[in-house]
Amino acid sequence: MGSVPFFFMSASSILIQFLNGLASASSLFLVAAGLSLIFGVTRIVNFAHGSLFMLGMYLAVALAPMLGFWWSVPLAALAVAAFGALVEATLLRRLYAAPELLQLLATFALVLVIKDFTLWAWGPEDLLGPRAPGMDGAVRIAGLRYPEYDLFLIGFGPLVLGALWFLLRRTRWGTLVRAATQDREMAGALGVNQRWLFTSVFALGALLAGLGGAVQIPREPATLFIDLQIISDAFVVVVVGGLGSIPGAFLAALLIAEIKSFCIGLGYSKITLVVEFIVMAVVLVIRPWGLLGRMPAQSRGPGTVELPLAFPTRKALAALGGMAMMLALVPLLSAGYTLVLLTDILVFALFAVSLHFIMGPGGLHSFGHAAYFGLGAYGAGLLLLKGGLPMELALALAPLLAVCGALVFGWFCVRLSGVYLAMLTLAFAQITWSVMFQWDAFTGGSNGLIGIWPSSWLSSKTAYYYLTLATCVGAIALLWRVLHAPFGYALRAGRDSPLRADAIGIDVRAQQWAAFVFAGLFAGLAGALFAFSKGSISPEALAVPRSVDGLVMVLLGGIQTLTGPVWGAALLTWLQDAVSRGIDYWRAVMGAIVLVLVLVFPQGVTGFLRERFAR
């Protein structure tokens, strides 16, 4: 379909696009409402909400042949609700008092586990759902055919909104939920059993997600990609509508779905994302907490105070220098595989240190750092292959693409904090991924780019190893140096006490934006080095699991340590290399590692060891 300017669309096709938007909004609203509801009471942003949607879809598709479509939908939703209750009771319940980052990580880990579970249970192929019996025809609207089922969906969203309104405003349970949303401690002191309340809220949220997925099956196939696609859409919706506001979720779902529908209808489906962004930007600038949202109340209880980052002692510096020297000697002793592994470790050490730069001292918890890694990698490939630049120049310029990404995304991100920031970084990474994944003509789509080899003088494993070693060690040293320069101190001041930092004349936002871009630059450099070491690049380089890798590396090492991310990167890269080839469901294993880390070593492994042996 070619693109048609808006004013050339006939009135009837405008109407049809409008109805399409309404129909898509319903399912999106269900997911976003569940997300909002859960966040309101438990203060946890459930990153796995899209995964619950996906489970709902697969379950409905699986149940439909046995029970018929109309039974499979509610049953799938109930099954997802039961699963949600189980997750809450066994896992999340332990985390309500934990730092926000760990809560986010735990639900993030669930995404991986559920994805692999779905893969194991239903296989990698897309599953087509049945049509809805009794609603499989079409009606004529303004002379055009329109599916009956979509009309049903158009009514379904407002119906659920009404039911939720009734539940929250007119029942005792709803009153308790609203009270707990405001002050759960006080509700407890008045005799409200929070455990039960939290479990039931989570179950309802999961039910909505599962239902949102199940009602979609006549419209689109169940795929393994849908979880992250939905969660990033839902994040955009709740950011626009206001986290915690159900009517806000409804309004924003309509807005986003209509935008999508008209972009597609006009033949501009590729710019949907751009338009979505412009809308989000406008909303965030005018109303930072969303259309109907309110500024989040300060949570009660003492905040955690981070220990200052100690300047490394002379001894520690000497030890680090010694290590770099030893790494330089490795090629004399061994070649081949060890060098390939060490190259990987160095690249990921730089990636992890750049993430740590914004997460630890900056306090900006990015759940989409792989976007910059991937932009650097694609930048290298595209400059070499499409731009015809020599390899050295491509390597040097590629990180600038990551810088551009970080400039744009960072502008939004520093306007938010906490869970909003986490949601937005994930949404940005997912969007970057879909651009690379879908733009077949330019980025090679799902196949990626091949033939990204270094110049001949760097083509031996040893030479490339030395290049990587020099670049990464230099870059890491620079990042660490900056943390102990006035910029780093100001960054930490902004993290610990934004108001006071502001008062002494630090422009906290500008500072954080600069940090974001700086970290993006080095993540991009790591990505470019990675691309030339592998000779090819695929969308996996910037997919969500890579962001998870970065988080795990930082977490393994301990977020408030300086050298931790390096050890974390070494350990994880080595582990993945040694173990992943033997395991089919590596993602689930990664998820399990994160869950264990979060539950057992909330300080990170080095933090744990330090606490253990410090006294």
């Binding site: 009153t175 609203r178 009270a179 405001q182 401690e185 407890g188 002191a189 008045l190 005799g191």
Partner: protein
Amino acid sequence: MLEVSGLDAAYGRARILFDVSFEAHAGQVAVLLGRNGAGKSTTLKCIIGLVRPRSGEIRFDGRPIQHLQPYQIARLGVGYVPEDRRIFTDLTVMENLEIGRQPPREGAPRWTPAKLFELFPNLGRMQDRLGARMSGGEQQMLTIARTLMGNPRAILLDEPSEGLAPVIVEQMARTIRELKAQGLTVLLCEQNLHFARLVADRAYVIEKGQLRRSGTLDEVREEYQQV
């Protein structure tokens, strides 16, 4: 009715309460007197379970409760009225009362919104008003009413006279005497000696987390004025 013995409490590394022991007898009003930061609120939070004591024992009706969750303690019949009111500002007066509501309890007066509006006529006139739109005094009434909806047998009041006009303070004292007349056990935290005198059967002076003296209000008055 409510016995606290050897209570130690801390926030992180800062120790706040040291071996605090006292008792509130059934159907009486006991007052904890102490200056700012003495540890009064912390003591009440330990009793209702919002702060976990480090050691010591808290018995309600002879039963140890220091290991229970706040909601379990509340369901045994302990009502808690916090010092900073903490009403649900997004909820109406009626909805706030609904949060406190619990099944009737044997040996405790049975409260309904209608009865509470007799006790606090102001609240009756603003049943559908949002908590956010109420004055401080009205909010204070609402916190007490909300707690009474749980039909408690004992009630912990944290400085209910704070920030109220003298007339309202008198009214508050009448309310407390009324609750006592209904058979409720009251544990009251206060700095205001004048107010304490209007209601106290027994008084305890707490200073820097330690119990200094106990007796009738007149007996402890001098001690309190010295600290």
